[in-house]
Amino acid sequence: MNSSVIVFPGSNCDRDIAVALEKFKIKNKMVWHNETNLPKSDLVVLPGGFSYGDYLRTGCIAGKSKIINDVIKHAKKGGLLLGICNGFQILTEASLLPGILLRNKKLKFISKDVFIKVLNFKNSFCSNYKDKNIIKIPIAHNEGNFFANNNLLDRLEDKNLIAFKYCDIKGDINELSNPNGSSKNIAGIFNENKNILGMMPHPERSIDPFLSSEDGSLIFKSLLK
């Protein structure tokens, strides 16, 4: 399997995701935002960070970068596209995923381990979570408060497009287990074809036994199938 990680000025999880991909034997290339063509890739990843300083609106300037046109083409052809944290924000700004990520409800950056519930296994990213659907994973963001109007929320629920919801250790999804004020505790969503996934938590930071969890590994293992 081949992947490309797009590097924007201000990306800062690009190395982390590359390390994770390679650890799980996915052949990865780094692609500079100013390029116009993607190398041949089964998977494209938009990494976390503060592209363009997160100035103006988070993700918005990266969403207008040169390489994005080819990323859009890749996704329209059904290629896999994963946006993590800032990558998720870029996906919404580039209209590849619906909704938008607003500032955290308490207006503070939040960095901590949270629990999320995996809600959909019939896709290329999450099949390995069938036996373990409540996972521990770190978040680290200032704008992770997913906002969507009621129509959109209904559509996401009806079509089963919600990938993850914040929950507690037991799997209960409620206000207490919602770290940032996201509508319906949403932590990640798919597009209709489920070839695009945007998520706020960082699977690439939970891939080995020395870190506070290894649960992120399963995403990469799922992708390999």
Partner: protein, 730 residues
């Protein structure tokens, strides 16, 4: 006379200093030259009050590659890996504009580390505020914390610890000390010493603006009511540009075109160019028309004194400039050849074709006046007996009171605002004694901590200074790391006052003694004097940043209790030192008396033997006993591990409250498996180490005989509530 008395004073120079300048250069300086002198000769850049004492500090051992004198210190951790680190203050700007002041503090210290070729792998910070009730405190706390986070998070460098303290002596003078730690291949370290004549001097990074002019002089002056009007001296940080600068510099550093490199920190273009030339015993010539400016019609004076952020000065090998320019353009940064090195040993500045300044480099650097300031000893306070009958206090009530006090509350609220998992190598996070960052791709790591103790240092500076170093040492030992070296940030009041200078001298003596005995040298640091408002000085606050190494990460331990039915021991003797303790301060309202004394032999012995036990895998958890005594240490171990404990005191002639709350030094709590009891005791006995059993671990509650039993959930709430409530907006 061209230069008036008033102008001299405005530049923070004394009249005799000005006379010295005139003598050195054989004429009166022009305004630009006066500005340059004022920038180089102020306390912040010249260390004129502290140099005499800094020279005496131990700065070498077999792991030190570079001690004080460069942008940051460098130590060897084996296999060609070196660690570069330094701590620096940004106190004054953070008081005037907490968000930007703290943010640019982080930005500045990061540049000190990556200018030497290291990729930053962690930041730490020590922040001190006035009393929580003071009307400014909440705003300062929120601004500083979000500023530190705002910059570090954007840079993508994990936060690996820090400390937050409140003390009314900081009401009008908060402290923001930021530390950065980087990793570099030992053979690829870059230094600031210029070499060779006619080499190109290159300016890279952001443009120069009118911001922060005279920031360094501000850091060398006291505050008064009007300080908030000193407007343009605070800069706005741009972490995004800094991130680009970091990547561009590291990309250029892969090759060998850099002769020397230096960030533009305090006193900007002036100090960076003078330092490079001075170290290389060369001259430097700059054409100011080539300096990239953000605003129109900037004068030479403004360009030389601006403290705009995110800029570097590089001396590049002739012929390599094209390639370098390409890299900086790729990262959208300014790149401009502004001058060259010369053999004149002068600083020569040109503007619009004419020479506007011409100063001997030595007059700016080595000829700085050095002061041997008068100082006064702080007397050792007496132990006062029978102040109150504290022995009658209820243990649980006292514990709750301490646990919920601002200084002893969990700092989760703070560090949850700092990204501490980015880079994927944080193997032990904030909340323990030291954080541990893995060396990328390897099975070893470094342990990091920062510590200070203004109360101890104020009560008796020498003991206090010694204690901070030992505390840092202990914190590193507690995670299983070999302590290697420290950096220090010395925050004091006005050195022109004898009592303050005395605090400085004696703290440094204590620091020096401890460092020497523990073979724990000082490799970098910073002095911040004039932390004083309306004639009131802060308590002396040296901050120590410690670095240790764990060669095999499988030997790392943490402070969280691991399982039920194991034993908890106290290593080190408890003599019942109560003065300056949290119990006295928070519960009895007694602030008098001496701080605890340290026996350096025991300190070292206890630490090294504990490391041995850890390496033999006999220790399941370890935590040093510091403020709050045994009971607070035990509670913290319980809370972090979510495992309870039943306290059993077998001791001696102390009352229970003394035993549990005393702050005697050099002690640790350790959790061991019942089956390892014998092996552990044997090693401790062989090495003459005093130890006692203190508890057995159990499920979910902390118990003490018939006196109390309290659920950990309740304790946790007591421990975390203060920050949440304090900052809640209802």
């Amino acid at each position: 006379m061209l230069i008036s008395k008033d102008l001299i004073k405005k530049h923070g120079l004394k009249t005799d200093e000005f006379s010295k300048i005139v003598k050195l250069i054989g004429r009166e300086p022009n305004l630009l030259e006066l500005g340059i002198f004022s920038a180089m000769w102020n306390e912040h850049c010249s260390y004129k009050s502290s140099k005499k004492y800094l020279k005496k500090l131990p700065t070498k051992n077999k792991s030190v590659i570079q001690g004080p004198g460069e942008n940051a210190g460098v130590i060897d951790i084996g296999d060609n890996d070196a660690i570069i680190f330094k701590i620096e203050s940004h106190n004054h700007p953070s008081f005037i504009e907490p968000y930007q002041g703290a943010a640019t503090g982080v930005g500045g210290i990061l540049r000190d580390v990556f200018t030497m070729g290291a990729r930053p792998i962690a930041t730490l910070n020590s922040i001190h505020f006035g009393s929580p009730e003071h009307p400014k405190t909440k705003n300062l706390l929120n601004g500083v914390v979000s500023g530190i986070g705002g910059y570090g998070n954007c840079m993508g460098i994990p936060n690996a610890g820090g400390e937050v303290k409140f003390n009314s002596c900081f009401n009008e003078n908060n402290l923001v000390n930021a530390m950065a730690v980087g990793h570099v291949n030992k053979n690829k370290i870059f230094y600031s010493k210029a070499k060779g004549v006619n080499q190109l001097v290159v300016y890279v990074g952001s443009k120069t603006g009118r911001d922060g002019i005279h920031g360094a002089s501000m850091a060398s002056a006291e505050f008064d009511e009007n300080s908030e009007d000193k407007k343009p001296t605070v800069q706005v940080g741009d972490p995004f540009t800094e991130k680009l600068l970091l990547e561009a510099c590291l990309e250029l550093m892969k090759g060998d075109s850099i002769i020397s490199i230096q960030d533009m920190g305090a006193a900007g273009l002036t100090s960076s160019s003078v330092e490079m030339a001075s170290k290389g015993n060369l001259g430097i010539e700059i054409d100011l028309d080539k300096v990239p400016c953000r605003e129109e019609q900037m004068t030479p004076y403004e360009m030389m004194l601006s403290e705009s952020q995110e800029r570097m000065l590089i001396i590049i090998k002739n012929g390599d400039e094209k390639n370098a320019e390409k890299i900086f353009k790729k990262w959208d940064l300014d790149f401009s050849i502004i001058g060259k090195t010369t053999n004149t040993k002068n600083l020569d500045l040109y503007f619009h074709g004419s020479k506007v300044a011409n100063l001997p480099i030595t007059s700016l650097s080595t000829d700085v006046p050095i002061y041997d300031r008068k100082w006064k000893k702080t007397p050792l306070p007496k132990k006062e007996k029978n102040l109150v009958n504290y022995k009658k206090l209820k243990i649980l009530d006292s514990l709750k009171k301490i646990l919920s006090s601002p200084n002893n509350s969990s700092k989760e609220w703070v560090w949850e605002q700092y990204d501490n998992t980015v880079m994927g190598d944080t193997v032990q996070k904030n909340g323990g004694d030291a954080s541990v960052i893995r060396i990328h791709g390897k099975n070893k790591g470094i342990a990091l901590t920062v510590d200070s103790s203004s109360h101890y240092c104020f009560a008796y500076p020498q003991f206090g200074g010694m204690q901070v170093v030992c505390e840092a040492w202990r914190n590193l030992v507690s995670v299983g790391a070999r302590p290697l070296a420290i950096t220090n940030c010395l925050n004091f009041g006005n050195p022109e006052k004898e009592i303050v200078m005395g605090q400085f001298v004696e703290c440094l003596n204590g620091i020096s003694d401890a460092c020497t005995y523990l073979d724990f040298p000082i490799v970098s640091g910073n002095v911040s004097f004039y932390n004083e408002t309306n004639n009131k000085s802060i308590e002396p606050t040296p901050t120590i940043g410690g670095v240790g190494v764990i060669l095999n990460l499988n030997n790392m331990v943490s402070q969280s209790l691991k399982s039920i039915n194991s034993l908890v021991l106290v290593i080190g003797k408890t003599n019942g030192h109560m003065h300056q303790s949290e119990l006295f301060r928070e519960v009895c309202n007694i602030n008098s008396g001496p701080p605890p004394e340290i026996n350096l032999f025991n300190e070292k012995n206890n630490g090294l033997i504990l490391l041995k036990l850890i390496e033999k895998k006999l220790i399941k958890a370890a935590h040093d006993v510091s403020s709050g005594g045994i009971i607070l240490a035990l509670t913290e171990m319980c809370l972090l591990g979510d495992i309870g404990a039943k306290i059993k005191i077998n001791s001696n002639n102390l009352s229970n409250i003394e035993y549990l709350f005393a702050e005697d030094q050099s002690r640790y709590l350790v959790e061991i498996d019942e089956k390892d009891q014998k092996a552990t005791f044997n090693i401790l006995k062989e090495n003459d180490i005093f130890y006692e059993m203190i508890a057995e671990t159990k499920k979910e509650s902390l118990d003490f005989d018939k006196e109390f039993s309290i659920n950990l959930k309740d304790l946790k709430k007591i421990n975390t509530d203060w920050f949440t409530k304090y900052n809640e907006i209802k």
